[in-house]
Symmetry: C2
Subunit: 761 residues, 2 copies
């Protein structure tokens, strides 16, 4: 089919262009519309075979005209339209005739009468408005390419990056019959099974991946996180137990301890010979860990630390591994020479070799939970338990032989937050685990949607539910978000692995934000997928029961999401304060103000009404919109705070009054960094069928996020209705465009039936 | 305190009004602000005791100035402001001085110098903008009344209506030790327990409430639904089992059968002597029940009906009571004399007296589910099972002795949908059950929020988490929605009980919509409440685990929510078509168009920028906004459909292209009917402390719903930013206003600790 040089089309063919354009532009051509157009074209005299072929090709409903054809039509129409003064009295027929006449100069004169009759006929059939009024002439159009041959493995490599082979290996291990999937309702039996699995993995060296080579590891947190990610596909209890033992507990020894601790414990931990807990959270203090109540009082005479829970609420709670562990990293207020040095971690043995509790230790099972019943969470109290001085994990603060406290970080609060920095890897893993659960759910729901039929036109075959627009609208945006989060997390863990000291603060902020964002996303996505599978989704055998119940707590543990989002906002505010240290906070605010007004707001007048497809799908539009939102929210938050500070409102009151604003800012920031990564990844991708199907996924993520926030954009006058409406149409089209490839997109997650564990697929 | 006559204030006192107004209007006065103002006032010479007292009273942070005081300030300021030309060069000080001067005419001249100094001083302290720019002068203000003495029982009666005593009785029964709450992980044991409970309730006559008196009941579906509602607080498995036995199965016999069936079965069903299933859904057909595949072929020679599952997917699935029942109402395509008469219900015995399966019956356990594991769901296949002619539930279609089919409803499809009308009561109950679960969750989360402290100002006591604005924002709007749904359901079930034939269609539509709306609402609310309780919310002992997992399927069973919402939209479209039967569908559209433009859009120019508090809290503004949304969506949907029909697009294609639009319309409709009920209930309420605390709950529901849809309102240019912003502030204030009463509001649900079953409260 000729697509570029306009003179390749005969005048008669050109005369049809406006009619066919409009028919397509309002959506897919329906079979009855196609039938009518075909009839009229067939009935035309003096139309040669090639002309008919071109026209028939253009209205073939099985594939959309490709984008260049469409653009060419538009180009030709605009050329002619500019000459004939498009107004309400002009019809699509007039435009078509003008195009035919215009191009017949010097050509054999076409049968204008027959063309006009046919066009008028069709116009009557379709009740078309004049072209000047026709929305579609200004509205976006997106090509719906034919299904290319896609290399799913290539896509999987693209998603997995360097971890592809390792992940593949773990998947093979998990397909061993030892990793069977059965209902185990009894918590003790389920925990026993998970413990066995954990030891199997440890035996093969996967637990130690994050530790230094000297202790059996590879010092590679990227690879450690990749293992966690795969385990989370198989069983979230196993993933969490793995994370508690090797990440949290082992990580505390690795990052908060020094060589004596590493030498004594790290290899045994990696082998799962020594099982341990990360005993931080208390009943009375979850989010506010700085104010934990457990005491660790150093006695200089005996060189012993006395670990004690002063009251019931000071007991440690939800502690994973509590029923199996023989030792714990206990976080407590360290008192040396009567002075509180803030929270430190101290290794406290819990059980003897036979598994009996040691004196002074009281442990209670946390019992059944909504999910994760394969993880043994418990409560722990200490009644003046004495441990030697060496049990203090002393990387950031030490007690000398002479019984004095020393640290390179003088401020206790700052010291503690430095220690907490070691939680970053855990947060990245939690986000990855949640994403895995969401990917599993999406794969099951989309595969089911491609099998399940329900309803349909009268007397016709029932339709695949995946062909319902509402079904696409509920599953494809979260699918796009899974791709987006995938790249953001890949990038984050890589930067964490290769960090230098100065990056850490930024990585911490981003990890907190992405953890909150991804876990909320995962919970709502799994829910959506469950509902999309109807009653089948409710049966245990189809996996959603566990995915939903297990992943639920990810929104709370390793930092409550709402609290983390506030942390992100505070991080953003304080980095601005830091950057503009000379000018001070007000300087930062002034700078922000100028930024927003200069480079952003000034673009608005044209921008907010721009609805052409090139613009809507343009990565730089997306980036601009995301950045604008983040900066504007930061600026307005800063201004509000400044005003309150000027009015002498106490900092805590200021924080309270701006809390919801902070969370909005944090979300905007997380969305921005996710977008930036996704853009870069996709734009860097080599041309080919894989890029062709991932690009619309990126576009859907970008536009769906803008649409989700459209109330704000409308309020800011950044978008007008004409544009939000065009965005909505474009999202619908992108969903249609993704529909033929959605199986490739979920297959690229590389999840076997065994990993998914759902009977319905 | 003088509040009305303006001349009761001295000129000096008046001079302070703008300053104090502005200080209040930006939010609560902080303690440090109060301190500063008090100091400056104290330092003023020539101020008498009563003047000082008035001023101190006005800035007392423990209670807000009451609304009339506030209004009076505003009035005085506006009066003066109109005279002195408020502009950017004018300051709060200028306005204050003008007010003092204005009122000192004929009065003793005040010490203007001292007043001016003090005001300038304060202005410097607080960095106040000129009054013309000050948002608060136009922004809403809401009184925060002191905690009145509220009669919680009175509120409970208001919520429960006529069912108050019955509900109370059921609550007492459930507090019997027989209704203990323990973890039962094994499904068979749990099911056994639920069955025992069911029989206990039946013995006392609660199962039969909906049946006619002749069969041991009261013919009262309102009371039946009230029992269901209370059971849903205690254990959702019990509620569902109860609903399956007495509502669905018993209801099918009652509503689809005739006297012979009633005489033979109804009393035994009500006593739970005869356990039965409602066997409608099939593996292959859930939502599209019209196309069920089970066959019921009548053999005129033997007078027997042959019930048969032609293939695996034709098996009945998710059938509650399947493992306990001895009989089932089986929905199947009824073939008489070779002609398919559409879906009918036939009673098919499943087991003998010893519980053994009868020949031709195959039943499989559906196994573990996400929740509701106390309900025995199973799959049932029939292999040419023969039952006598009399087993056809023949109210809407009968087979005569001569073997001919007869029905008063000639169209098989219409006949079936008439039969489905009997599902209405079930849908109302499902909505009520979901609402109960949400109320339980809200009660637990709010009570916990009033106990749990976390974080706080430096060196101060930690704050109650219920005092965090974010916490209020996440729990109070759903609390308001629980009140709203409560009244809507109360009204709906009452109309259903007292229906005449013509109402039924409307009630059906509304039941479908409210079922979908309430169950979605319940799931998201329980989730929010779970997260609001952090780790505690994840433990089984605190109830959310069951609430969340059990209620989840309410979004799917008795009609998938997405499908139901489309049903609602279709109902709305077709009632319009009906109302304008003469003018036809186009007439209806034209009528709608004129409605929207005349009575609604024309109000807009002033309306969309109106931000004063009276307007924002005015029920007629809310009603207008809700109606506008519903009508505009109906109109635009109608127009879009008309255009598509004109273009000869097939009805099914039209339906597909407008699917998301339909769901939006349905939601708007449901919100409108809920609002109307809530408004009426609250406005009819007698003045008193109960009304004082329920009114802001109503206002919160109305404004929060408008805010949820604000993107749409902005797009339609119905609201402008200045107004959406004022709405946001008003919602924040309403949350503050509700905060002191939130315990009353949940206590009014009347849920004992035993019913709630949460350790944390």
């Amino acid at each position: 089919m000729p697509t570029t040089a306009q003179n390749l089309y005969s005048p008669t063919v050109k005369g049809f262009i406006p009619m066919i354009y409009v028919a397509w532009a309002d959506g897919l051509l329906s079979p009855s519309e196609v039938r009518i157009i075909r009839e009229r074209i067939s009935a035309m005299p003096n139309l040669d075979v090639s002309e008919r072929e071109i026209l028939f090709n253009w209205i073939e409903p099985s594939h959309w005209p490709d984008e260049s054809t469409f653009r060419n039509w538009m180009h030709l129409m605009k050329e002619t339209g500019a000459e004939i003064d498009l107004n309400d009295t002009q019809s699509i027929v007039d435009l078509g005739l003008a195009m035919a006449k215009r191009s017949s100069v010097g050509d054999a004169l076409p049968d204008l009468k027959a063309l006009e009759d046919t066009l008028r006929d069709l116009q009557r059939e379709f009740k078309l408005p004049p072209p000047a009024k026709f929305r579609a002439l200004h509205a976006p159009h997106i090509e719906l390419p034919e299904k290319p041959s896609v290399n799913e493995q290539e896509m999987q490599r693209f998603l997995d990056g360097d971890s592809y082979e390792l992940k593949d290996r773990i998947k093979k291990i998990l397909s061993d019959p030892l990793f069977d999937r059965t209902v185990i309702r009894d918590k003790d039996k389920y925990r026993q099974k998970v413990l066995e699995w954990l030891k199997l993995l440890a035996e093969q060296g996967y637990g130690a991946l994050g530790y230094p080579e000297a202790y059996g590891g590879e010092g590679d947190i990227i690879r450690y996180a990749a293992v966690f990610e795969v385990l989370a596909h198989f069983d979230l209890s196993l993933a969490v137990k793995f994370g508690v033992q090797f990440g949290l507990f082992g990580g505390s020894v690795q990052h908060l301890g020094t060589k004596i601790h590493h030498d004594k414990y790290l290899r045994q931990i990696g082998d799962a010979q020594l099982l341990g807990c990360f005993a931080m959270t208390e009943t009375g203090h979850g989010s506010n860990v700085r104010d934990l109540e457990t005491l660790a009082i150093y006695d200089a005479d005996t060189h012993m630390i006395d670990v004690h829970s002063p009251d019931f609420a000071a007991g440690k709670e939800y502690i994973g591994n509590a029923m199996h562990a023989t030792i714990a990293s206990v976080f407590a207020q360290l008192i040396v020479q009567g002075e509180n040095q803030g929270v430190h971690a101290i290794l406290v043995p819990l059980r003897d070799a036979q598994g009996n509790l040691l004196p002074g230790i009281r442990i209670e099972d946390n019992g059944y939970k909504m999910g994760l019943n394969g993880v043994d969470n418990g409560r722990i109290w200490f009644d003046h338990v004495k441990v030697p001085r060496e049990n203090l994990l002393n990387r950031f603060g030490n007690i000398t032989l002479l019984g004095r406290y020393e640290s390179e970080i003088p401020n206790p609060s700052k010291r503690f937050f430095t220690m907490l920095g070691t939680l970053v890897a855990g947060r990245i893993c939690v986000a990855k685990g949640a994403l895995s659960a969401a990917k599993s759910a999406l794969t099951i729901a989309i595969k089911y949607g491609l099998k399940r039929r329900q309803f349909g036109p009268d007397r016709g075959e029932e339709m695949l539910i995946m062909d319902y627009p509402t079904h696409q609208r509920r599953l494809f945006p979260p699918l796009a978000r899974a791709y987006a989060a995938n790249f953001a997390l890949q990038d984050l863990v890589t930067r964490y692995q290769n960090r230098s000291g100065t990056d850490l603060r930024l990585i911490e902020t981003q990890a907190a934000g992405i953890k909150a964002y991804t876990t909320w996303y995962a919970n709502s996505t799994i829910q959506e997928c469950r509902e999309a599978c109807g009653g089948k989704g409710y049966l245990w055998e189809n996996r959603f029961a566990d995915l939903r119940s297990d992943a639920d707590i990810f929104a709370t543990f390793e930092g409550d999401n709402t609290v983390l989002m506030q942390l992100v906002a505070k991080g953003l505010l304080s980095s601005f304060r830091q950057e503009f240290n000379d000018a001070g906070f007000m300087g930062a605010i002034r700078y922000l103000a100028s930024q927003v007004s200069d480079s952003f707001l000034s673009l608005n007048p044209v921008y907010k009404r721009k609805t052409d497809v090139d613009h809507l799908l343009d990565p730089s539009f997306h980036l601009h919109a995301f950045k604008f939102r983040q900066r504007k929210l930061l600026y307005s938050l800063g201004s509000r705070m400044r005003n309150m500070f000027r009015k002498r409102i106490t900092p805590y009151d200021v924080f309270l009054r701006t809390q919801t604003h902070m969370i909005e800012l944090a979300e905007a920031y997380v969305e921005l960094i996710i977008l930036e990564q996704f853009q870069q990844k996709v734009l860097d991708l080599q041309d080919g069928p894989e890029k062709d199907i991932i690009l619309p996924v990126y576009q859907l993520f970008a536009l769906d996020t803008i649409e989700k926030n459209k109330a704000w954009y409308l309020e800011q006058d950044y978008l007008e209705y004409v544009k939000t409406k065009a965005i909505r149409h474009t999202i619908d089209r992108l969903c249609q465009q993704i529909r033929p490839h959605c199986d490739h997109l979920v297959n690229a997650f590389g999840l076997s039936d065994h990993l998914l564990g759902a009977e319905i697929i």
